[in-house]
């Protein structure tokens, strides 16, 4: 039995579902797992107490700086542990393996690869030939290919949330808990991480793998029996693809759960039957992407393959059925203009969207939008510039610094203007002001007010309201003292290992790679993928 410690930066937010699924499989395989947060906690002290064999974390781009810094710090002081990095960033950018402190990088879904890795470490076997992993061993990096996707999701154990509750019982008391119903996505949107998973797994990623309604409802019922639950949040890209599944889910959900739920959908795949079933089954809020009002940006740049009239029809159907519509919008799209973003604002007002969330376009590595941004000269390809949050500043270059500032200001005022359309005429003037604390505070105040009471309706505790108000004033509960500078990557020789061939017959070719960053990586990755496909 090995001990695996999962470090989660924002453990106070939504549950780290991916890491929990991995932990569930490890526990089933007989290993011991523990979760710790970072805010108000000394992670190194936890490492010394628990003495883990593996330290694992999942990270997105932006947060990677934090995690890679922490990984180096922990590895230096606890060199015995194997440090495993998973999540979106290593999937996009497996070169994270070259960061000192990281021993293994997991690309894509981590359940099977992590169990194989920890089992191999337990037995003392070679762990360098495991599909989905890049492994650093004796100064060499072994790059393994992708494994076949697990088709039956019902076979995966439910995320062991009790591991989170063991760290902090307040997490059990949260009224909103997260679930997923499927994996994979058939749409090629250029701004989404799915593209890099298609690159890694091939076209099989595009075929959604769907949990049975019985399995999903059983998990929710179990979670409800463990702690309070007021709202169910479904977190996958697209909650449901067909009416048949939704009907069966609704029958079970209404009978056994009967709570309001929140989910993500694409407006253009909705039919009247699906909308009726959604409302009937208890759907309170649908989060859908409007993204942009410009058909050119939507289809040529964002590659959404969407018809705007169908999108609008879907939103109107949801509104008519009494479902709260929470729209996602992307401002500052490469080659777009301020006028395009103002059109997007007007479209949200026209559709009477209940909450219009806006984000600043962020070219994550491995995505089509990153390639496009670099090719069109709107981004220099330095992914370390990408922020933890896509709600602060844009890394995209526009026609002038003034235009960029106006787009960033519009982003802060977007949601409130959709709520109060009377502000529309003054917004044009307001966004010309210098960036200021009021815009930031307004963005956060309205975001928190709506999320706590409307989008995910629940009875917030007094302490929660107090913390939310204080956070608008820049006062936060607990500090995070685990921040360390991100180390400089160290180039190492690499060995390409094909996943298809058995490990012992593989003729590995050793090559020295430079730490190429940016679009070159994606080209290389595509070549590797194409060669594998061939």
């Amino acid at each position: 039995m090995k001990r695996v410690l999962f470090v989660v930066k924002e453990i106070e937010g939504a549950e780290p579902i991916g890491a929990l699924y991995v932990a569930g499989c490890l526990v089933r395989a007989g290993h011991d797992c523990k979760f710790v947060g970072t805010r108000g906690n000394d992670v190194l002290a936890d490492v010394r107490r628990y003495d883990p064999d593996v330290i694992a974390f999942g990270t997105t781009t932006g947060l990677h700086r934090y995690y890679l810094g922490l990984a180096a710090h922990l590895k230096e002081r606890h060199p015995r542990a194997v440090v495993l990095a998973g999540g979106a960033h290593p999937t996009y950018f497996p070169e994270a393996i070259f960061s000192p402190g990281v021993d293994v990088v997991c690309r894509g879904e981590g359940e099977d690869a992590t169990v194989e890795l920890v089992d191999a470490l337990d037995r003392g076997d070679d762990h360098t030939r495991i599909a989905d992993l890049w492994v650093k061993h004796d100064g060499v990096v072994y790059k393994n290919g992708a494994r076949a996707l697990r088709r039956d999701l019902d076979d995966i154990p439910f995320p062991p949330r009790e591991l989170l509750y063991a760290y902090d019982d307040a997490l059990r008391l949260r009224p909103l808990k997260s679930f997923t119903t499927n994996r994979g996505c058939p749409f090629p949107c250029s701004y989404c991480f799915n593209a890099s998973l298609v690159e890694h797994y091939g076209p099989s990623w595009k075929k959604p793998r769907i949990r049975s309604p019985e399995n999903v409802v059983a998990e929710i019922a179990k979670v409800r029996s463990d702690g309070p639950l007021q709202v169910v949040g479904f977190r996958e890209s697209i909650f449901v693809y067909e009416a048949k599944w939704l009907r069966r889910f609704g029958e079970l959900y209404r009978g056994e759960i009967g709570l309001p739920y929140y989910c993500h959908l694409r407006a253009d795949i909705l039919t009247e039957e699906m909308v009726d079933l959604l409302a009937w089954s208890g759907c309170h809020t649908v989060n859908l992407g409007i993204e942009t009002a410009s058909p050119r940006l939507a289809n040529e740049v964002l590659d959404r393959r969407i018809k705007m009239d169908r999108l609008c029809a879907g939103v109107r159907m949801l509104k008519k059925a009494g479902v709260v519509v929470f729209s996602d919008n992307i401002l500052g799209i490469p080659t777009g203009t301020l006028e395009d973003d103002l059109d997007t604002l007007r479209l949200n007002v026209e559709l009477d969207v209940d909450y219009a969330a806006a984000t600043l376009c962020t070219p994550y590595p491995g995505t089509g939008i990153a390639r496009f941004a670099v090719e069109s000269g709107c981004f220099d390809g330095d992914y370390d510039k990408i922020d933890d949050s896509y709600y602060t500043e844009s890394v995209i270059e526009f026609s002038s610094p003034e235009e960029k500032r106006q787009i960033e200001n519009l982003h802060k005022l977007f949601a409130i203007t959709v709520a109060l359309p009377a502000l529309l005429p003054v917004v044009r003037r307001l966004i010309k002001l210098p960036t200021n604390d009021f815009f930031y505070a307004l963005f956060r105040a309205y975001y928190l007010a709506i999320h706590m009471t409307d989008v995910m309706p629940r009875r917030p505790a007094l302490g929660e309201i107090r913390d939310a108000v204080l956070s608008v004033f820049g006062v936060y509960r607990g500090t995070d003292d685990n921040e360390h500078p991100m180390p400089t990557p160290v180039p190492l020789p690499t060995v390409d290992v094909s996943a298809a061939a058995p490990a012992h017959t593989e003729a590995a070719a050793v090559e020295l790679v430079s730490l190429t960053r940016g679009p070159k990586r994606t080209t290389t990755a595509r070549k590797v993928h194409n060669a594998r496909e061939a």
Partner: protein, 117 residues
């Protein structure tokens, strides 16, 4: 259907009230944050001026500036810091970073797929 429409209308009005309340909270918070940062800027400028005049150890300078701020010496120091303030003003006009502390605001921003709940 009528009940649904009524419910939707009520929800819309509630949302507008929340939006107006958010503007109120944001005005207070924005003013608070700007003043707080203003005080910090003054403190930093006092340190700069002292460094230019004296060149003591940085930690001593910081403590001294702290004392100056709390003892109400800021006014006199500000006279001496006139040119430094002008520099800072120029910086603020030229650089967006000077007008807000993005790093501080980032702490309160929702993280991807990790909505503050």
């Amino acid at each position: 259907m009528h009940a649904k429409r009524e419910k939707a209308r009520a929800r819309k009005w509630k949302r507008r009230i929340k939006a107006v309340a958010s503007i109120g909270v944001a005005l207070a918070a924005g003013t608070f944050l700007a003043c707080q940062r203003g005080a910090e800027t003054v403190k930093r400028e006092v340190i700069d001026v002292r460094a230019r005049l004296g060149g003591e150890d940085a930690s001593v300078r910081y403590d001294a500036a702290d004392d100056a701020t709390t003892d109400g010496d800021v006014g006199t120091e500000l006279d001496a810091a006139g040119d430094a303030t002008a520099d800072a003003g120029a910086r603020r006009k030229g650089s967006k970073d000077a007008s807000v502390d993005v790093k501080e605001h980032r702490k309160g921003m929702p993280v991807r797929d990790n909505l503050l709940e």
